[in-house]
């Protein structure tokens, strides 16, 4: 196995890959937290956000918050199931962690080029619900439990349109490998014109929209933040957590946002592919191109997050089952029919 044509032993490769993936979550969470949560949200509300810490536009604020969390005491309620409660944030984190394994950042920059990458990514991303249920149950707090049950209902409901939205892309590209999907978009053509390849967002705009909406719900972000509705269940399954474990939940939230944005960028926007860039240059520019596309997708997601108020529980379920899933099914049907025709 080689990264960037360097031939190194599998042990070193494993260590490097693990390190890279482990760095991606806090890094992605920091970038997203600062750029979107602190700055974009502030400006959308006609505020400035943090301006002092670190000197330049408060760039150090989030790191400072992280340091604060690490200093805090790790508190467990008396009646809590200590071991399960201690483990829960790591499970949530792990699900994010595993998604990054299959997302390619260049022709050769991918941790694990699985043939069933799409299947794998969607499977591991739904693992987080187990961590959420563990956290909610083990906290021995009724708000946490209500929140965990809401989160379960929501994540299961929105897992379906998320998967169905991706099926259209899989039909069009004819592969489930994320690398294969990127290549299909790079080398594809829209009705014979191959000037910019064939980013699936152009032909799968319905699928893209469904994916973004469902991903938003998977992240339990507003307007789908019923499970963490602070005004009624005080913060949901995280209510009894403090210190480092709370930080893990926070990192996982934004790390998962990064992962879903990366998936959407790969599936619909052509991943690392840039028209006219081939070979070694694609490896060099790949990560930057992916990052730019990720930021664009994340902008759309956070834009909706900062605009819409929270949906009621029944509205939330109705949107998934009565609207998104039927639309996704019709989308699959039409995509399949057109695939056969052309």
């Amino acid at each position: 196995m080689s990264i960037l044509a360097l031939d190194i032993g599998w042990g070193t490769t494993l260590a490097v890959k693990t390190l890279v993936v482990m760095l991606l979550i806090p890094l992605g969470a920091l970038i997203f937290g600062y750029v979107f949560l602190f700055k974009m949200m502030a400006h959308m509300q006609s505020r400035l956000g943090p301006m002092e810490s670190g000197g330049f536009h408060g760039w150090f604020q989030l790191v400072g918050d992280g340091i604060k969390f690490v200093q805090k005491e790790d508190i467990f309620p008396e009646k809590a199931d200590r071991h399960v409660m201690a483990l829960a944030p790591f499970i949530v984190m792990l699900s994010t962690f595993l998604v990054f394994l299959v997302v390619p950042a260049g022709p050769r920059i991918v941790v694990a080029p699985l043939d069933v990458g799409v299947f794998y990514a969607l499977a591991v991303s739904s693992l987080s619900v187990i961590g959420v249920v563990m956290a909610g149950w083990a906290s021995a707090n009724k708000y946490a439990l209500i929140s965990a049950l809401r989160a379960t209902g929501q994540l299961i409901a929105y897992e379906v349109p998320l998967v169905l939205a991706v099926v259209g892309v899989v039909i069009q590209s004819g592969t489930m490998s994320l690398q294969g999907i990127v290549l299909a978009q790079r080398d594809g053509a829209i009705f014979g014109w191959d000037g910019i390849g064939h980013p699936f967002v152009l032909t799968q705009i319905v699928g893209f929209t469904l994916f973004i909406v469902a991903a938003q719900a998977e992240l339990t972000q507003p307007p789908f933040d019923m499970p963490v509705a602070e005004s009624e269940i005080v913060g949901g399954y995280m209510v009894e957590y403090s210190g480092f474990r709370f930080l893990l939940f926070f990192l996982a939230e934004f790390g998962t946002a990064f992962a879903f944005a990366a998936l959407a960028a790969t599936l619909f926007l052509g991943g690392w592919a840039l028209p006219g860039v081939h070979g070694g240059a694609a490896d060099a520019f790949g990560p930057v191109v992916v990052l730019v596309k990720v930021m664009f997708v994340a902008f759309l997601m956070f834009w909706a997050r900062f605009t819409y108020p929270r949906m009621r529980e029944d509205q939330l379920q109705a949107l998934a089952w009565k609207w998104l899933i039927p639309i996704a099914l019709v989308n699959i049907l039409v995509t399949g029919a057109l695939k056969v025709v052309f």
Partner: protein, 161 residues
């Protein structure tokens, strides 16, 4: 029906996007100077020559943060052969801003227009005793009292600075 809702949601996105590109309303206070409106309640200024030591402000103050001492003096009569008049002279007029809750009742109640609001707000102190402003300091605040804005049309002109 659905289209109307979609249109509403899109215009919502438009509002947040437009706000994002407009300059924020935040004033970076220690770095930039704040510009409070002229009727902002910053500090109370005292026009000593208007004060007659009637003690109305002192008595109406809800947290008793105004301390007044004064005495009477005889003044010569206005006309030849008239009687001498008495005038109240201030010896002490202190407002303890550590107690003041900026209700403005003293300013409202003053029958002789001796107390004024000023929007000046930068008089914090490191020592709580420095928040007791004496009559000289309160008199100095008069320079910070802005000219009142134009009256609404039809308003009755009453009182003067």
């Amino acid at each position: 029906m659905v289209m109307r809702e979609v249109k509403g949601m899109l215009s919502g996105l438009g509002v947040t996007l437009r706000t994002m590109f407009e300059p924020a309303v935040t004033v970076q206070y220690p770095h930039e100077s704040e510009d409070p409106p002229i009727r902002a309640r910053g500090v109370i200024a005292l026009k000593e020559e208007s004060c007659t030591v009637c003690m109305l402000c002192c008595r109406s103050c809800p947290d008793w943060c105004i301390y007044i001492e004064g005495h009477k003096e005889k003044r010569p009569p206005r006309r030849e052969g008239g009687r001498e008049r008495t005038a109240g002279i201030l010896d002490r007029f202190d407002i303890d801003y550590a107690l003041c809750m900026y209700c403005g009742i003293c300013v409202e109640v003053c029958p002789f227009d001796a107390l004024f609001w000023s929007p000046e707000f930068e008089y914090c102190a490191t020592d709580i005793r420095s928040l007791l402003h004496d009559k000289n300091k309160l008199g100095d605040w008069m320079t910070k009292v802005p000219e009142p804005g134009p009256l609404e049309s039809g308003a009755q002109v009453k009182g003067k600075k």
